[in-house]
């Protein structure tokens, strides 16, 4: 994700077609990973709409929740969840690659960093669920 080099005459710059990422499963997986951010952002906008209705009062919020029971919205949230989980898995798998963790002189094995990241994700998710149930 660095800045592309300035174009210099006399050098060959291949022009890729728009669909280059459909050619190879790895390119496709890369594009799906990047696209996951669109679905995550779409959900957050929907969450903002929920909060907007909550600001209008509990009845408006309840009416919106009622709409979310329709098949279209269930499909939207299920698809967004699939992309969100794909982001989580790819992100946590990359964490140990990007970030070397050391304890004193020793390097913590990358597989352990990844495993602990997934455990941490599970714990954080359970804490959010627990706190919401506590408050409600």
């Amino acid at each position: 994700m660095t800045e592309p080099r300035a174009r210099r005459p006399g050098l060959y710059y291949p022009k890729l077609p728009t669909t280059w990422w459909l050619r190879n499963p790895r390119y496709f997986a890369f594009m799906i990973r990047e696209l996951s951010s669109v679905f995550v952002a779409a959900f957050l906008v929907v969450l903002l709409i929920q909060l907007w209705e909550l600001g209008n009062g509990p009845d408006s919020y309840a009416a919106l929740l009622q709409k979310f029971r329709s098949p279209g919205w269930i499909v939207f949230h299920a698809v967004a969840l699939a992309f969100a989980l794909y982001h989580t898995v790819t992100w946590l798998n990359l964490t140990a690659v990007v970030q070397e963790v050391r304890l004193g002189e020793r390097q913590v094995p990358p597989w352990l960093v990844t495993a602990l990241s997934f455990v941490g994700w599970g714990v954080v998710s359970l804490v959010v669920l627990f706190l919401l149930l506590q408050m409600s």
Binding site: T18, E34, Y61, L81, L133
Partner: protein
């Protein structure tokens, strides 16, 4: 060639932090607010939800949850557009993407402050 100063590290930092927030917090909130609460798997009364969100600490948490992944989106979406061939529009695309994230942050702050 002299290194050109850019704002890239700043946006990359927000992208990275937003990616962490999205990875750790978004799935559970998606299940809760997208499925579990609307479909009645867990019962939180709308009046109770209003009281919960009225708490300033919860508002701060929700601002982090919503705003930071928007910068993550902005960075990735910017490069999706460049990667599918819009290289010639890279400056306006960057302004639009990061601008949308900043606008989203301001909007989120406003929406949160409306809940009492």
């Amino acid at each position: 060639m002299a290194a050109k100063r850019t704002s890239e590290p700043f946006w990359w930092g927000l992208f990275s932090v937003g990616g962490v927030v999205a990875a750790f917090l978004v799935p559970v909130h998606l299940v809760l607010h997208g499925l579990a609460i609307p479909l009645g798997w867990i019962s939180v009364s709308p009046a109770r939800m209003q009281v919960i969100v009225a708490n300033p600490l919860i508002k701060l948490y929700l601002l982090v949850l919503i705003a930071l992944p928007l910068y993550h989106w902005a960075h990735r979406f910017r490069f999706i557009l460049e990667d599918i061939g819009l290289r010639s529009l890279r400056a306006p695309i960057a302004v639009l993407c990061y601008g949308a994230a900043v606008a989203g942050t301001v909007f989120a702050l406003w929406v949160l402050l409306r809940v009492w």
